[in-house]
C-alpha cells in the first residue's frame, strides 16, 4: 500500500526524517467533552463501534459499569466511572469520563512509531493511524501518555480513535459527537470549542465548582480532545486522568537523544576498528610462531 505514503500537507508523519514540505496551515479542530453534561450513557461507545464496524467480544460483568473492561482494538472509546465523596459539597459525585485518544498536538505515539507514515498528524491536528503502514510493533502504546492505542491480535495492527477523520474530511463531526444525547461531546474548531468551554466553566463556577476548568494539557502542547472538568485541579479523580501529561522522559530518551547517541556509539566503534587497522595493521602470525609451535609439539612428544 505504498500509495498511502504521501507526506504532503501533513503536519507530522511517523518515522520520517527530514522536514515535511510545509503544510498549508489549516484550522485546528477539537472535540470538547463536557464531563459535567455527560450522563455516561455509552451512546458514544455504541455509535463509535457502529460507525467503524467494530464488534467487541461480549464479556462478563466483573462488578463495574465499564464494559468492555478496557479500551480494546475494537473499542476505541470507553466510559470510565469513578465515585467520589466531595467533602466540600457533602455530596457523592459520580465522575464519568469518556476515555479515548486525546489527539495530542505533540503525539507521543507518533514520536515512538518506527514505521514511516503509520501515524500521521493532519494539519487540523487529528492524529490518525494509517493501518496499511502499521507494522504492529506496539511502540505507540509505549509512546502514548494516556495509554490509548491497542494492538489487535487478529491483524497485528494498532487501533485507536481516528476522530472520525473520514467523517471530518466530508464536513461531518465524529460519530460520538453526533450521537451524544446531552451534547456533552461537541466538535468544531479548537477556538470555538475553547469559547464554548469558557461558557461552560463559568456556569460550573456559578454552581459552586470553583476549580472548574478546561483540560487542554500544555505538557503535550494541548490536545484536540479536551475535557471540561468540575475539578480541574483533581484530574486523577476522573479514573486516573493524568494531571500533567507529557510524553514520558523514557520515551523522549528512547526516541530522542538515545536514538542519535546509539547510532553515534556504533559509528565510533566501527570507526575505531578502521582507524586501528590502518594504524596498527594486521596482527599476523609469524614464521617463528609456527616454528615455536612445532618445537613445542616436538618437545612435548
Amino acid at each position: 500500500m505504498s500509495q498511502l505514503q504521501p507526506a504532503f500537507g501533513l503536519a507530522k508523519r511517523s518515522a520520517t526524517t527530514g522536514a515535511l514540505p510545509p503544510a498549508k496551515a489549516e484550522t485546528p479542530v477539537a472535540k470538547m467533552i463536557d464531563v459535567s453534561k455527560c450522563i455516561g450513557c455509552k451512546a458514544c461507545q455504541v455509535a463509535c463501534m457502529e460507525w467503524n464496524d467494530l464488534r467487541q467480544d461480549i464479556e462478563e460483568n466483573v462488578g463495574v459499569y465499564e464494559n468492555p473492561h478496557d479500551l480494546t482494538p475494537n473499542a476505541w472509546t470507553l466510559m470510565r466511572f469513578a465515585e467520589w465523596e466531595n467533602p466540600e459539597r457533602g455530596q457523592l459525585e459520580w465522575l464519568i469520563r469518556k476515555d479515548g485518544c486525546m489527539h495530542c498536538q505533540d503525539p507521543g505515539c507518533l514520536k515512538a512509531c518506527p514505521a514511516p507514515g503509520a501515524i500521521v498528524q493532519y494539519s487540523n491536528g487529528i492524529v490518525d493511524f494509517i493501518s496499511a503502514n502499521c507494522i504492529g510493533c506496539g511502540y505507540c502504546v509505549k509512546g502514548c501518555p494516556f495509554n490509548i492505542p491497542r494492538i489487535s491480535t487478529a491483524d497485528n495492527k494498532a487501533y485507536k480513535c481516528t476522530l472520525c477523520s473520514d467523517r471530518v474530511a466530508v464536513g461531518q463531526g465524529p460519530a460520538c459527537a453526533k450521537a451524544c444525547p446531552t451534547k456533552a461531546i461537541t466538535f468544531g474548531t479548537k477556538d470555538d470549542m475553547k469559547k464554548l468551554a469558557a461558557e461552560r466553566v463559568a456556569d460550573l463556577k456559578d454552581r459552586g465548582y470553583s476549580k472548574a476548568g478546561l483540560y487542554d494539557p500544555p505538557g503535550v502542547q494541548g490536545t484536540h480532545v479536551m475535557y471540561v472538568l468540575h475539578h480541574l485541579d483533581k484530574a486523577p479523580l476522573y479514573a486516573g486522568l493524568p494531571q500533567n501529561p507529557r510524553i514520558s522522559p523514557l520515551v523522549e530518551l528512547w526516541k530522542g537523544a538515545g536514538k542519535y547517541a546509539g547510532l553515534a556509539l556504533l559509528g565510533v566503534t566501527a570507526a575505531f576498528g578502521v582507524v586501528h587497522h590502518l594504524l596498527a595493521g594486521a596482527n599476523r602470525v609469524t614464521h617463528e610462531d609456527e616454528e615455536n609451535a612445532e618445537k613445542l609439539r616436538g618437545g612435548g612428544a
Partner: protein, 228 residues
C-alpha cells in the same frame, strides 16, 4: 608464508563441529536481529525491513529470532563459560592493553584459551542477551501475554516504556561489542578458520594462546585433539 617449505603448518583443533554450528546459529540470528532491530530503531534504517519482506514481517520475525538467539546463546554459554572464568593473568593482560592494541604480544603474559578481551566479550554479551531477552519480552505483546499469565503479574505501561529504553540501549552496546568481536577476528589474522574449519595453526596458537597450546599439546600423546 608462515609455512615450512612445502609442508602444511601444524593445525591445532579449536572448535568442534557442533560448537561451530552453535556459533553460526547465534551469529546468523544476531545479524538478522541486528538488521531488523536497527530498522525499527531509526527511521533512516527502516528500509532494512525490505530485506525481510516489509515492516510487519520484520516486526513479527524479530522476537522469534530473539528466542532462537537466546536458546543458541545458552548453548554457547554452557560450552564456554568455564574457559571464560577470570584468571589472575587477565588483569595483567588488561593492564597492558596498550601492547595488545599495538600487536606486541611479547609483552603480554601467556594466555589460555581466551584472553581477557575475549572473556569480556563473552560475559558482556551473556549479560546483554539476558537483558535484551527480558526487556524484549516487555515489548512483545504475544510473549508478554504468555509470561504475564505464566508468572501472574501485569506489566505497567511505565515498566514497558523502561523496557523499551533498556532494550534499545542494550542493543546499541551489544552491537558495539559485536563490532569489536568481528573486528578482532579480522584483525587477528588466522582467527576465522577456528570457526570455519575448526582449527587454527600452531603459530596462531603459539602467538595468541600459548598457554592453551601448551595444554593442548601436553594433553594427548598423539597430539592435539579437538577440544572446546
Amino acid at each position: 608464508m608462515s609455512q615450512h617449505r612445502g609442508e602444511a603448518p601444524l593445525q591445532v583443533p579449536r572448535y568442534s563441529g557442533s560448537a561451530r554450528i552453535n556459533h553460526w546459529v547465534v551469529a546468523i540470528s544476531f545479524v538478522l536481529l541486528m538488521i531488523s532491530g536497527l530498522a525499527l530503531f531509526h527511521p533512516s534504517l527502516y528500509w532494512l525491513t525490505g530485506l525481510f519482506g516489509g515492516g510487519p514481517t520484520a516486526r513479527w520475525l524479530h522476537p522469534w529470532l530473539g528466542v532462537v538467539l537466546v536458546i543458541g546463546f545458552l548453548g554457547l554459554f554452557l560450552r564456554f563459560f568455564v574457559a571464560n572464568l577470570p584468571e589472575r593473568t587477565d588483569w595483567v593482560w588488561l593492564a597492558r592493553l596498550r601492547h595488545v592494541l599495538a600487536g606486541r604480544e611479547e609483552y603480554l603474559p601467556e594466555v589460555g584459551k581466551y584472553n581477557a578481551g575475549q572473556k569480556f566479550v563473552f560475559w558482556a554479551q551473556a549479560f546483554l542477551v539476558l537483558v535484551m531477552f527480558v526487556t524484549g519480552i516487555g515489548l512483545w505483546p504475544v510473549g508478554l501475554a504468555y509470561f504475564e499469565q505464566l508468572l501472574g503479574f501485569k506489566a505497567t505501561i511505565d515498566q514497558r516504556r523502561l523496557a523499551a529504553v533498556i532494550h534499545a540501549g542494550a542493543a546499541v552496546l551489544t552491537i558495539a561489542i559485536w563490532i569489536i568481536h568481528v573486528y578482532a577476528a579480522i584483525w587477528v589474522r588466522g582467527t576465522i578458520s577456528a570457526m570455519t574449519r575448526g582449527t587454527v595453526t600452531g603459530g596462531w596458537a603459539w602467538r595468541h594462546h600459548r598457554k592453551w597450546l601448551r595444554k593442548e599439546i601436553g594433553k594427548e600423546p598423539g597430539g592435539p585433539q579437538p577440544a572446546e
